[in-house]
């Protein structure tokens, strides 16, 4: 029966050709894969594959340039917004996006992030927040929640000793250079659709020269959190979203 249905005219969904055929190196169930896919789908839907330049970070997504079928540049650790600034100024007609994790954007790259957002560069910044350093083995990040166990906070993050978790998205929302700041997630179909609309908006803003569009994606790190992918998504919903609530923080007209 299903053979009657599997025909080109009945196609509802297929992997976008803006992603390469390479199998991603991310752990099973990682939100990076989903986010890559929806960014690529937005590029496909807008028809801007030839006019898009992506900036890859350092961290788990360091090999992002192997997966996007667009021109990519690799930045030094944390410097993706600075490189995106340069690319956008040299090629103002191109769509430029940076793709960074929380260790890259909110730790070593805090200065670049804040100054690019404050200058109001006309770029799209995608920020994956999973509250941990995934690639290096699950160490504590600035975004790690209170009492959350990591390799370097094995008894949980102690605020008195290790400081408070950083809400960088709230910080950049206050800066005059940002035009669109939102926090999304990608662990259910409805949230993926919503996140895709937010990323579409963030790319559309570049046409109108509005300033930085900043999309945070609260994601899981099932290897770092030491959970199964489905349990990690459950944990994300119960713990991460209480501290990092979803929704738009700033939408300028």
């Amino acid at each position: 029966m299903s053979k009657d249905i599997i025909k080109p005219e009945n196609l509802v969904y297929r992997r976008t050709p803006v992603l390469t055929k390479n199998t991603m190196h991310y752990c099973p169930g990682c939100g990076h894969g989903t986010t890559h896919r929806i960014v690529a789908e937005v590029i496909e839907e807008m028809g801007i594959q030839e006019q898009t330049i992506g900036i890859a970070p350092v961290g788990c997504a360091v090999l992002a340039y192997n997966y996007f079928e667009v021109d990519m540049q690799e930045a030094a650790h944390g410097r993706a917004p600075a490189l995106a600034t340069a690319v956008k100024r040299l090629k103002p007609d191109f769509f430029v996006f940076s793709y960074q994790g929380d260790g890259d954007l909110a730790a070593i790259g805090t200065a670049e992030t804040i100054h690019a957002c404050n200058r109001g560069e006309n770029i799209t910044m995608i920020f994956i927040n999973n509250g941990i350093y995934g690639m290096t083995g699950g160490q504590m990040a600035p975004t790690t929640l209170e009492d959350m166990k990591t390799a370097t906070s094995p008894y949980g993050r102690d605020i008195a000793m290790m400081g408070n978790p950083l809400k960088i998205t709230e910080i950049v929302a206050q800066l005059p250079g940002t035009c669109y700041v939102t926090r999304q997630a990608v662990y259910t179909p409805a949230l993926v659709r919503k996140c895709k609309r937010a990323i579409r908006q963030a790319f559309e803003n570049q046409k109108e020269n509005k300033g930085v569009s900043f999309v945070e994606v609260v994601s899981n790190c099932n290897s770092g959190w030491k959970m199964t992918p489905v349990a990690a998504n459950q944990w994300l919903e119960e713990n991460m979203l209480a501290f990092y609530p979803l929704g738009d923080l700033k939408v300028s007209k």
Binding site: M1, Y13, R14, R15, T16, G29, C30, T34
Partner: protein, 70 residues
């Protein structure tokens, strides 16, 4: 009678199972068999797919292609 059908790229599937709770009709489950990387890949269990594409939309690796009869 199924209204929809999915095609799973078995070799690319990592068996994370994120798609399984997303399916409204419990059509999909992880196989007892493994692919060449050792992952228990996704397989279709029954004939009640409606082609909603929820599984494909949450799949981190984009392994699912969805068809729906018109």
């Amino acid at each position: 009678m199924a209204k929809g059908a999915i095609v799973i790229e078995i070799e690319r599937c990592k068996g994370c199972g994120v798609c399984i709770p997303a399916c409204p009709n419990k059509v999909i489950a992880l196989s007892k068999k493994v692919n060449s990387k050792g992952y228990n890949y996704l397989e279709v269990q029954n004939d009640s797919c409606i082609g909603c594409a929820n599984c494909a939309i949450v799949c981190p690796d984009g392994v699912i292609t969805v068809y729906r009869a018109k």
